[in-house]
């Protein structure tokens, strides 16, 4: 059974922004909303590290537990999705998420926050429904990872991407480095 995950290989990320733009142009994410962002720590100093932060589709997702409307759910293949019809924009999921994945528009019907939006593993675009009111579902093929310039952001079945990362980690250990440090 496939379990879809992300694995950001921070040793490779150079903050080129390819993932951010790929996500926007594929999922029609509006200006100001960032389903994926690259965050830099120790900018300009030794130890500088770039981390592509997207929804990690957690195994035991805190956002699901925090949501008072049960608007967030997890598919069998691991992908965590929010139902924008049920979402009331309370923002509890944002408090709960350790990665800052939930995003809110500045305006909306129910509150100043609007409906929560987040990475859907490219399964759903920003506007969840098509013109006939039917919910859109696409193949899980995250463009952020496909477009990653250095193949830093790995996406796919957890076993497979772990194997790739393990390989890289082994090479790095051999070279005397601590991977991801």
């Amino acid at each position: 059974m496939t379990t879809y995950k992300f694995l950001p290989d921070v040793d490779r990320c150079i903050k080129c922004g390819g993932c951010e733009v790929a996500c926007k142009q594929t999922n029609h994410v509006p200006y100001g909303m960032r389903r994926i962002r690259v965050v830099t720590v120790n900018e300009g100093k030794p130890g500088e590290m770039n981390v592509p932060m997207t929804c990690m589709h957690c195994g035991d997702a805190p956002c699901i537990k925090a949501c008072p409307r049960e608007a967030i759910s997890k598919r069998e293949d691991g992908i965590v999705l929010v139902d924008k019809d049920k979402c009331i924009g309370c923002g509890y999921c944002a408090y709960a998420c350790p990665f800052g994945a939930p995003q809110f528009e500045k305006t909306g019907v129910f509150s100043s926050k609007g409906k929560m939006d987040k990475c859907t593993y490219c399964v759903e675009p920003y506007h969840q429904k098509d013109e006939h009111g039917k919910r859109i579902t696409r193949e899980p093929n995250p463009r952020c990872a496909a477009f990653c310039a250095t193949k830093a952001l790995l996406a796919g079945d957890a076993e497979e991407i772990s194997a790739i990362y393990r390989q890289r980690a082994a090479m790095r250990l051999q070279r005397g480095e601590i991977p991801g440090a």
Binding site: D11, R12, I14, K15, C16, G17, G18, E20, V21, A22, K24, Q25, T26, Y31, G32, E43, G44, K45, P46, E48, M49, N50, R143, A146, F147, C148, A149, T150, K151, R168, M171, R172, Q174, R175
Partner: protein, 910 residues
């Protein structure tokens, strides 16, 4: 027949038989108004019936990104004739689907509503739309007019690194047919010093390997390159190499994003590259780490080099460069212990008064280690624009004809033969034979041709017309002088998909015509990567709005100027026949075997190039070929030469050697040194054949059969007698913070009549010897990953603007504290040329003596927005002050490359 009507309207204003009322009220005005519909100037037909309209299709079109020279493949998803988004081309051998933010925004840029849609002309202070025919006729008439009064040299043709190869070639040919050498492009201000430095060392001035081959490198020495931001997808291979055990050393004035991946980072003072590399070489030689066998067999001039290098010990160099002596020693050791090492650079080395020297020095470092001319080694100048390597090879350069033949009579006769025109006819197109053989103006200083009096320029008259053809103007320094020139010149013609500052920088009421050019995604043709690889772009969509491909514009202009028949003699199928003419004529670099059929076949069969380490197709229709058929590709069955000068393979398998460009022995020279010494490789001497002028190909066949490259097997010149400095010596930048070092390592003497204009060196440096008292901070410039070139395209793209919305100057927290400024406050950055008002980006990337500004910004001039010369409503487009207003007026001594990497400034609160 009476019609019963019912009213079912909820709107209280409406009532039954409204339609009758409406008809009565509006009938008259409608009848009059409809009469206007047939009175049109530009369009007649809007609609066509489509009985058998094909059902809308979805197709994926293979194309190449239009930004940097890595040459990433991308798929354009086209629905019903519209490019809706980009998709990853996962089996492309170079990038395997990866793209940076710029590449991901391609669909955005092609569909941008900010594109120039129609030809427009500025007249009476306003912009007016005109038809293509009217525009080209007016331009042609003006050209004929200035030609008759002032001669053909009164026109400056600024061409483009962003056209296809075929268009670049036609552009250079066009300037020749027009009759001037005042034709140049972005390479001048980008890697012209690389070409001069490397070609003068070992024969060709291009990247020796390719980005995939870097997977075999054991040690990267980034000196003047921020590849993580300027060439993001190259890092895919570099970091793969790092995983395989390679070391990364970064020497840079800034702790860049590339430095963030380094094992060793060394900060050094902008403009002191030669000293730094000399210090490293000093350690190498003193430790006997240099490869004596390689040096003896394959180089000449090591002793002359050591004469200079021996005194530049790490301690001496530390004082010059800021780099600590022990770090210099460490770099030398790492390079030596991790073979093969490679030197990687870009603008950080090229854009200096000593740019050519810097590059020569990098090659020397690589040579004395014996790491040159092999897989994983060599020198990697990462080229800039998507097709600047191609445009350079086509020599849209004021000092050469295509393929680096130069401007001698022999070169002209060669090309006249290829073009099928009489040499005397070509001569008649020029003002005189002297000007036909004389270097023209460069894009770095073309404006001097307008504003200097005629007595001070090296041609009969001033420039009267300038074509800004796919060239941004804010990447050129001295923007104040450029603005002055643009306000004085008779006519500016801008050819670009966007209107750029060519239309707005000058404050003038008329004399500007802007023509909308199509992007590369709206036409077909080849482009060349930084690794000399050829790729074919298929047409993604039809030209948008009323834009036209550059080639069409050139052909029509040639027609109006009356030389169309001669110009297009060999062409019936476009662009393929243009490429065939190139294959026939561009023999110096062996651009012979890259035929349209072979390149297209490779693109279609990209999936068969599975070995990303070698880039050689091991099976399938392209079996044996290297991806892109990198030049030299000697025949139409040759596999291409992926690694220059690499003699470990047979030539028929892509092997090569140093080029015997200067003959078999050192000629008489002004230093009276080495005269008669052999220039050929000691262990396998082979002279260069006459391949470059042999139109039959027999010379090539003969050499290939003997297993030799037609360019011979020579020694690389560590001592190059024709360069201003045969061996690099340290020279301070024009504006230096160390008066004592200015005295010890002064710059060049002034150069009169240098590309037609006086170029000052010593005069300026002496006058500014103590400038550091008033302007204590070193200003250096560079790139941001989100923006490209002059920025007209990328700053109009919402995704990229969201990532990088504002212009800024990077300053160190200590400097910020000194001047009382917090992060993101507005500050002025001032030099002798002027000042820019920008945000302060407080960061430790730079030290307290340095400031850094990205150069992609325009729309604001010394704090004043000139958006008022645009209509309002453009506030969303990201504007910023241009750092090239304030950079120094210094130029490389060989190529007139601008020195944007080192000048003096001061920063203060706004």
């Amino acid at each position: 027949m009476a019609i019963e009507l019912e009213s079912t309207f909820s709107d209280v204003k409406m009532s039954r038989r409204t339609f009758a009322k409406a008809t009565a009220a509006l009938g008259a005005v409608a009848a009059l108004g409809s009469g206007y519909a047939s009175a049109t100037e530009f369009t007649n037909k809007l609609i066509e019936t489509a009985e058998a309209a094909p059902a809308p299709t979805v197709k994926m079109v293979k194309t190449i990104c239009s930004h940097c020279a890595v040459g990433c493949g991308a798929l354009g998803r086209v629905e019903d004739g519209e490019l809706v988004r980009m998709e990853p081309w996962t089996d492309h051998p170079i990038n395997a689907g990866g793209m940076c933010s710029k590449g991901g925004s391609i669909a955005e840029m092609v569909n941008s509503e900010r594109r120039l849609k129609y030809p427009v002309k500025k007249t009476g202070g306003k912009w007016v739309r005109i038809s293509w025919d009217e525009a080209l006729t007016e331009i042609a008439n003006k050209l004929k007019d200035v030609r008759s009064k002032y001669g053909p040299d009164s026109v400056m043709w600024m061409g483009s690194a962003k056209m296809t190869n075929e268009e670049c070639y036609l552009f250079r040919k066009f300037a020749a047919f027009w009759g001037t050498n005042n034709v140049d492009h972005q390479a001048r201000i980008c890697h012209s010093t690389t070409v001069a430095g490397l070609a003068n060392t070992w024969g060709f001035g291009a990247q020796t390997n390719n980005v995939n081959d870097l997977r075999h490198t054991k040690c990267f020495f980034f000196c003047g390159s921020n590849a993580a931001e300027a060439h993001p997808c190259s890092m895919q291979h570099i970091l793969e190499a790092k995983d395989r055990g390679a070391k990364i050393v970064v020497a840079d004035p800034r702790f860049t994003r590339t430095a963030g991946k380094a094992d060793l980072f060394v900060r050094f003072r902008p403009g002191t590259t030669i000293s730094l590399l000399m210090g490293i070489c000093n350690v190498i030689v003193n430790n006997n780490w240099h490869d004596k066998t390689f040096i003896n067999n394959r180089t000449i001039g090591f002793e002359d080099f050591w004469e200079v290098c021996k005194d530049l010990t790490p301690e001496v160099v530390e004082d010059i460069t800021w780099a600590p002596a022990d770090k210099i020693r460490q770099i030398a050791r790492i390079l030596y212990e991790n073979k093969p090492s490679t030197v990687v650079w870009a603008m950080g080395q090229t854009q200096h008064t000593v740019g050519t020297n810097n590059i020569h020095m990098s090659a020397i470092l690589n040579l004395i280690l014996g790491h040159a001319a092999q897989s994983g080694g060599g020198c990697q100048p990462f080229r800039g624009h998507d097709n600047v390597q191609g445009a350079t090879d086509m020599c849209i350069l004021s000092h050469s004809l295509p393929s680096y033949y130069g401007l001698s009579e022999k070169a002209w006769r060669h090309w006249c033969g290829v073009w099928g025109v009489d040499y005397d006819w070509m001569l008649s197109r020029f003002e005189n034979k002297e000007l036909m053989g004389k270097n023209g103006f460069t894009v770095a200083r073309w404006y001097e041709g307008v504003i200097k009096p005629e007595s001070e320029i090296d041609q009969p008259h001033n420039l009267k017309v300038v074509f800004v053809w796919g060239h941004s103007l804010n990447s050129i320094t001295e923007m104040k002088k450029m603005k002055e020139a643009m306000e004085k010149i008779d006519l500016i013609v801008s050819v670009d998909p966007h209107s750029t500052i060519a239309t707005s920088l000058a404050d003038r009421p008329d004399g500007i015509i802007a023509l909308p050019a199509s992007t590369v995604f709206e036409k077909e043709g080849t482009c060349t990567t930084t690794g000399r690889q050829f790729q074919w772009r298929f047409k993604v969509v039809e030209p948008k709005y009323d834009s036209r491909p550059d080639m069409e514009i050139m052909l029509e202009l040639a027609n109006k100027l009356g030389f169309s028949a001669e110009f297009t003699k060999n062409f019936s199928q476009y662009p393929e026949d243009v490429l065939r003419e190139m294959n026939n004529g561009m023999r110096v670099i062996g651009m012979i075997g890259q035929t349209p059929e072979r390149i297209k076949r490779q693109m279609e069969n990209s999936a068969t190039f599975t070995n990303r380490d070698t880039l050689r197709a091991e099976g399938g229709p392209c079996k044996g070929e290297y991806w892109g058929l990198p030049w030299p590709c000697w025949t139409d069955t040759h596999c291409g030469t992926p690694i220059l000068y690499d003699s470990s393979k047979p030539v028929s398998d892509g092997g090569h050697d140093f080029r015997a460009k200067w003959g078999t022995a050192v000629p008489e020279n002004k230093y009276n040194k080495h005269v008669g010494d052999s220039l050929l490789r000691a262990d396998n001497p082979v002279a260069q054949s006459g391949y470059a002028y042999d139109m039959t190909g027999a010379a090539i066949d003969e050499y290939l059969a003997a297993g030799n490259p037609p360019t011979g097997r020579a020694k690389a010149r560590i001592w190059a007698w024709n360069l201003p400095d045969p061996v690099p010596i340290p020279r301070e930048p024009i504006e230096s913070p160390r008066p004592d070092l200015i005295d010890k390592y002064p710059t060049y003497d002034d150069a009169p009549k240098f590309y037609r204009v006086m170029t000052e060196y010593k005069t300026f440096q002496q006058a500014r010897r103590n400038l550091v008292d008033r302007y204590p901070i070193i200003l250096t410039t560079g790139r941001q990953v989100e923006h490209m070139g002059g920025g007209a395209e990328t700053r109009s793209c919402p995704y990229l603007v969201e990532l990088q919305p504002e212009m800024y100057v990077e300053i160190n927290p200590a400097l910020a504290a000194d001047i009382g400024v917090k992060h993101w406050d507005m500050v002025w950055v001032e030099t002798l040329r002027g000042r820019c008002k920008v945000r302060a980006y407080v960061t430790e990337r730079v030290n307290e003596k340095t400031a850094f500004m990205p150069y992609h910004w325009a729309g604001i001039f010394e704090g004043e927005s000139y958006a008022d010369r645009y209509p309002e409503g453009t506030a969303e487009m990201a504007l910023g002050d241009s750092c090239n207003i304030i950079c120094v007026d210094g130029y490389d001594r060989t190529t007139q490359m601008q020195e944007t990497k080192a000048c003096l400034c001061k920063v203060y609160k706004a």
